[in-house]
């Protein structure tokens, strides 16, 4: 385990974009992309999609990002899913993989989406045990992402910062900080998103997610299908003031805009990060 306060190894660097089959050619042609991330469950078994092979041949890191391990779930860990993730990581020679601090399945039901875990000792113990079991199977570093949650469990015993801090300390996992999710949760709860940045164990930061969303009836939805709001970019800048992230990735999953629009959002991210990097 890294010494307390020490900054963990850099596993990925630069500015990347989420590779999706619908925009594979667009992603291949976008200038200045340093790495891509792929939703692990969307990659068919068998030969890699040609586009990912092309990107790998160019030397671009491909990071598998899982959405279905349900690491915060009380059900026994589905080790077949973890093994499939490990196989994909090996196939693309990934420097790390990721999933979320969440649960997906319980009691025989499958929500099909990422749901928050209660911030209790019980939930933390279960999460730590599941993450440890997954890490032993994976063979590459695992980063865990904070989710956007519309609902909040009652009777929290730990703050979000304490919960994530202890998770990192007990499992030596890395952190994938999604600033759009932080911003969405803070906005929906009427809190200042910058306050949470001070609590996060940023020494474990592997990379950062940025994404867009939309507001409906007073609730902000993290859709990954709309432009990135100014507030999310501001929160990225706020994060950069505390620590310059090793890498930042733009996620877009639906209602795909033009290459110019996506390139513009990537340029904004580059400008924010460059503005906080110490001059060489």
């Amino acid at each position: 385990m890294a010494a307390a306060g020490a900054v963990a190894d850099q596993l990925v660097s630069g500015v990347g974009i989420g590779w999706r089959a619908e925009i594979d050619l667009l992603v291949e042609r976008l200038p200045g992309v340093d790495f891509v991330e792929v939703v692990a469950e969307s990659v068919p078994r068998g030969p890699l999609p040609e586009s990912l092979t092309i990107l790998r041949e160019r030397g671009l890191p491909v990071l598998p990002h899982a959405v279905s391990l349900s690491l915060g779930g009380a059900d026994p860990l589905d080790t077949d899913r973890v093994r499939r993730l490990a196989e994909l990581a090996a196939a693309v020679d990934a420097p790390l993989v990721s999933d979320h601090v969440c649960f997906v399945r319980a009691g025989g039901l499958d929500s099909g989406h990422l749901l928050p875990v209660p911030r209790t000792r019980d939930a933390l113990d279960v999460l730590v045990a599941n993450v440890g079991q997954a890490q032993r199977i994976l063979g590459v570093p695992l980063a865990l992402e904070n989710i956007a949650a519309l609902i909040e469990w009652p009777n929290a015993e730990l703050t979000e910062g304490e919960f994530l801090g202890e998770l990192v300390e007990r499992t030596d996992c890395r952190l994938l900080v999604d600033v759009a999710n932080l911003w969405a949760n803070a906005r929906n709860a009427g809190r200042d998103p910058a306050d949470l940045l001070d609590e996060l164990p940023l020494t474990a930061l592997a990379y950062v997610h940025v994404a867009g969303g939309v507001e409906h009836d007073g609730v902000y939805h993290d859709t990954h299908a709309h432009p990135v709001p100014a507030g999310v970019f501001e929160l990225l800048a706020e994060l950069c003031r505390r620590t310059v992230p090793p890498a930042v990735l733009l996620e877009r999953d639906d209602r795909f805009p033009s290459a110019e629009a996506l390139g513009g959002e990537l340029d904004t991210i580059r400008a924010i990060v460059a503005g906080h990097r110490a001059p060489a």
Binding site: P44, R45, G46, G73, A74, D75, F103, R105, A106, G107, G108, L109, D110, S111, G112, H113, L115, V117, P118, T120, R121, D122, A123, D125, V126, A129, L150, I151, E152, W153, P154, N155, V219, H221
Partner: protein
Amino acid sequence: MTTGDADSARARLAVAQAELLRALLAGGAPPAGFDRGRLAVETDVLLNRRRRQVGGCVGDLRDALGDELFRALFDAYAAEMPPTTDTGTHADAERFRAWVGEHPGGDEPPRPKPRWWRRRPVSP
């Protein structure tokens, strides 16, 4: 922490998570302490997501029904058939197709429109 403690932490969490998912997906009572308005929003988000994913698998059926009838039938189906851990999206979609055959929601069972193209089968 002993194994027994870990087992009981897991058991307590299992009860709480199952209760929440029953409320969100299977018409169960809202668990104590949650904001009911937000539970309703989350229920809608999960249903919309499932409908979109199933619709993507049965595009022929969705086209034949039209968006409005597809939505109404899917939501009636979802209320009867919550998404279970043993059913992936494709199986869910085929289960929905069979359910529509039994619940046409109109005078005539919907019949897919003929198409001049076919999707190439997706390799496993």
